[in-house]
C-alpha cells in the first residue's frame, strides 16, 4: 500500500506545480493586459493630443486671419492662445510618440510643417505691423498658409489613421490575451481539480489502509498481552499444582515405604524363627525354600530403602558446606571392605579433594557410585577402584573409575532412568534406583553426571557440581 501513498503524494505535488504555473501565467497575462491598457490609453491620448494640437493651430490661424482682415489686436489673443496651446500639445505629442519610431517620424514631419505654418503666420502678422494691411493681405491671398494647413491636416489625419490601426491591433491583442487567459485558467483549474481529487483519493486509500493496519496491530497487541497474562496465571497455577502434587507424592511414597516394610520384617522374622524352631524337621530343600523367601524379602527391603532415599533426596533441603570428598570416599570403601572382607580390591583415592555440597547428599552420591564400582568388579581378578579429581574446561570434575564389567556405551542414557538395569539380576544384584538418586542429587547441586564405558573394560562415572 506504500505505492498508493507515493502516487497520492506525486499527484498532489503535480497539483501544486499546476497551481504555481497557473499563478505565474495569470500574473504574466495580467502584466500584458496592463501593458495593453496603458498602450491603448497612450494611443487615445496621442490621438486626442494630435487633434488638440491641430485644433489649437486652427484657432491660431483663425486669430491670424481675423487680425490680418481687421488689424485689430483683439484677434491676436486667440492667436497667441492657439500658439501656446499648440506648443504644449506638440511637446506632449513628442513625448507620447517617442517610443514609436514611425510615429515619431510622422510627428516630426508634422512639427516641421507646423513650424513653417507658424513662421508664415508670425511673418504675416509682423508684415501687417510693419508694412500695413495691404501687403499682408497679399501674402495671405497667396494662400501658402492654407497649403501648409491642408498638408498639416492631412498628415495629422494620417497619424490618426496610424493610431486607429494601432488601436485596432491593441484591441485584437487584448481580446486574444483575454481568451488565452480564460482558457489557461479553465484548463489549469480543471487539472488542479482532477490532480487534487486523485491525490486525495490515493492518500485516503493509504490512510484507510494505515488506519486498518493500526487497528489490527492494536488488536493483535492486545491479544498477545492477554495471552501473556493468561500464560503467567497458568504458570502460577501449574507451579502451585506441581508443588502440591510433589508434596502429596512424597507423603505417599513415605507412607507406602513404611507400610511396606513392616510386613516384610514380619516375613523375614517369622521365616527365621520358623527355621530356628522347625529347621530340624525340614530337609535341605525345605530349608532352601525358606532361605529364598528371606532373600526375596531382603531384596524388596533394599528396593524400598532406595525409593525412600530417592524421595528424601528430592524433598530434603539443600545445606551446602565444605566437605571432604576424600574422607567420604575412604569411609565408603572402608564400609564395603568391612562388609565383604573376602574381597580383594586395590583402591586409589586422591588426597585433599574438597567440594561445596550438602554432606548427607554427597555421601549418598559417593556411596552409590563406589558401591556400584565395588559390585561390578566382583568378577574381576585384580579389581581396582579409583576416586579422583580433574579439571575440565575450568570446572572441577570428580570421578569414580573401576576396571569391572562396564556396560554398552550405546545404553548409557538408560543408566539414569528408574528401574533400568543393564545387567541381569542373577549376575549383579541391584535396584535400578541408585544412579537415578545420584543424578537427582547432582542436579539439585546444579551439576551434571555422566558415564563412560566399554563392556569388559570398566566404567568411569563423573560428576561436576556448580
Amino acid at each position: 500500500m506504500r505505492i498508493a501513498n507515493r502516487i497520492g503524494a506525486f499527484l498532489l505535488a503535480g497539483a501544486l506545480a499546476v497551481l504555481v504555473f497557473l499563478i505565474a501565467a495569470l500574473h504574466s497575462d495580467q502584466q500584458t493586459d496592463d501593458r495593453l491598457d496603458s498602450e491603448a490609453a497612450r494611443i487615445a491620448e496621442t490621438a486626442d493630443t494630435a487633434r488638440g494640437a491641430l485644433s489649437a493651430l486652427k484657432d491660431a490661424e483663425t486669430g491670424q486671419r481675423g487680425f490680418l482682415l481687421t488689424g485689430k489686436d483683439a484677434y491676436l489673443a486667440p492667436y497667441n492662445d492657439g500658439i501656446r496651446t499648440f506648443d504644449e500639445m506638440s511637446a506632449r505629442l513628442k513625448q507620447l510618440t517617442a517610443s514609436d519610431r514611425e510615429l515619431s517620424a510622422a510627428v516630426s514631419r508634422v512639427m516641421a510643417l507646423a513650424d513653417l505654418k507658424r513662421r508664415e503666420m508670425s511673418s504675416t502678422i509682423e508684415l501687417l505691423r510693419s508694412k500695413g494691411q495691404g501687403v499682408a493681405a497679399g501674402r495671405v491671398s497667396q494662400d501658402i498658409g492654407k497649403l501648409y494647413m491642408d498638408e498639416i491636416r492631412m498628415r495629422v489625419d494620417r497619424i490618426l489613421g496610424m493610431e486607429d490601426v494601432a488601436r485596432a491591433r491593441n484591441a485584437a491583442e487584448a481580446a486574444r490575451l483575454k481568451a488565452g487567459t480564460r482558457s489557461k485558467a479553465l484548463i489549469g483549474a480543471a487539472a488542479l481539480f482532477i490532480l487534487t481529487l486523485l491525490g486525495a483519493v490515493f492518500l485516503s486509500i493509504e490512510i484507510r489502509y494505515e488506519r486498518r493496519l493500526a487497528t489490527s496491530l492494536e488488536a493483535s497487541e492486545k491479544k498477545y498481552r492477554d495471552l501473556a497474562e493468561n500464560l503467567e496465571h497458568q504458570v502460577d497455577a501449574r507451579t502451585r499444582e506441581l508443588k502440591r502434587l510433589n508434596a502429596e507424592l512424597s507423603a505417599f511414597s513415605y507412607s507406602v515405604s513404611h507400610d511396606l516394610r513392616a510386613p516384610l520384617r514380619s516375613i523375614d522374622g517369622f521365616s527365621q524363627i520358623f527355621l530356628e524352631d522347625y529347621g530340624g524337621a525340614l530337609d535341605e530343600a525345605g530349608r532352601r525354600l525358606i532361605e529364598r523367601i528371606r532373600s526375596a524379602a531382603t531384596r524388596m527391603d533394599g528396593l524400598i530403602q532406595s525409593l525412600l532415599d530417592l524421595s528424601r533426596v528430592t524433598r530434603q533441603e539443600l545445606k551446602r558446606e565444605k566437605v571432604s570428598i576424600t574422607d567420604i570416599a575412604a569411609s565408603s570403601l572402608r564400609g564395603l571392605a568391612a562388609a565383604m572382607p573376602e574381597r580383594c580390591v586395590q583402591t586409589i583415592i586422591a588426597p585433599g579433594m574438597e567440594a561445596d555440597a550438602d554432606p548427607q547428599l554427597i555421601r549418598i552420591v559417593l556411596d552409590n557410585l563406589i558401591s556400584n564400582a565395588w559390585k561390578f568388579t566382583s568378577k574381576t581378578s585384580h579389581a581396582v577402584i579409583e576416586v579422583g579429581r580433574m579439571v575440565c574446561a575450568g570446572k572441577v570434575v570428580f570421578f569414580v573409575r573401576d576396571n569391572g564389567a562396564g556396560f554398552d556405551p550405546t545404553l548409557a542414557n538408560r543408566l539414569f532412568t528408574p528401574f533400568q538395569r543393564l545387567h541381569p539380576e542373577s549376575e549383579f544384584e541391584g535396584t535400578g534406583i541408585g544412579l537415578v538418586t545420584v543424578q537427582r542429587i547432582v542436579e539439585r547441586h546444579g551439576g551434571r553426571v555422566w558415564a563412560e564405558s566399554r563392556p569388559g573394560h570398566g566404567a568411569t562415572f563423573s560428576f561436576a557440581l556448580s
Binding site: Y254, H258, R261, A262, P263, L264, R265, S266, D268, G269, F270, Q272, I273, E276, A297, T298, D301, Q305, L308, R312, Q316, Q360
Partner: protein, 138 residues
Amino acid sequence: MTDPSLLLVEDNPDDIALAQRAVTRGGIRANLVVARTGKEAWDLLNASARLKQQPKAVFLDLNMPEWSGFDLLQRVRASHPIASLPMIVLTTSSEPADVERSYKLGANSFVTKPLDFKQFSDVFAAMSAYWGGINETI
C-alpha cells in the same frame, strides 16, 4: 524376687511377637509388658509409678493410633516421677527428620527396626542391657 520389666509400646501384633521372641531368644531376664497405644502406655506408666514398680526401659514405636510415640515422649519427659525413664524409639522410620525430632523430645536412643531378625534381637538385647541394666544371662 520378680524379674524387672521392660515396656514395649507397639500396635503391630507381628512386631510384638518378634519382640517377645527376641527377649526369649536373647535370654533377657525381664518381663516384657506391652501397651498397644501411647495412651495405654501413659496410664500403665503412671500406675507403675504409684506402685513404685517402674519398667527399666521403654521401647516405643512412633506411628501409633491415639497418641503417637512423639506425644508419649513429650508427656513422659514433662511428668515428674517418670521423667528420667530410659526411652528407646524403635521404629520402621529412618527419616532424618524423625530421628532429630525424637532426640529433641528426649529419646535416649533411636533405632530403625532392622529387617534381619537376628540383628533385631541383638539390638533389642543391647539396648536392654545398656539402658535397662538387664544382663542377658541364662
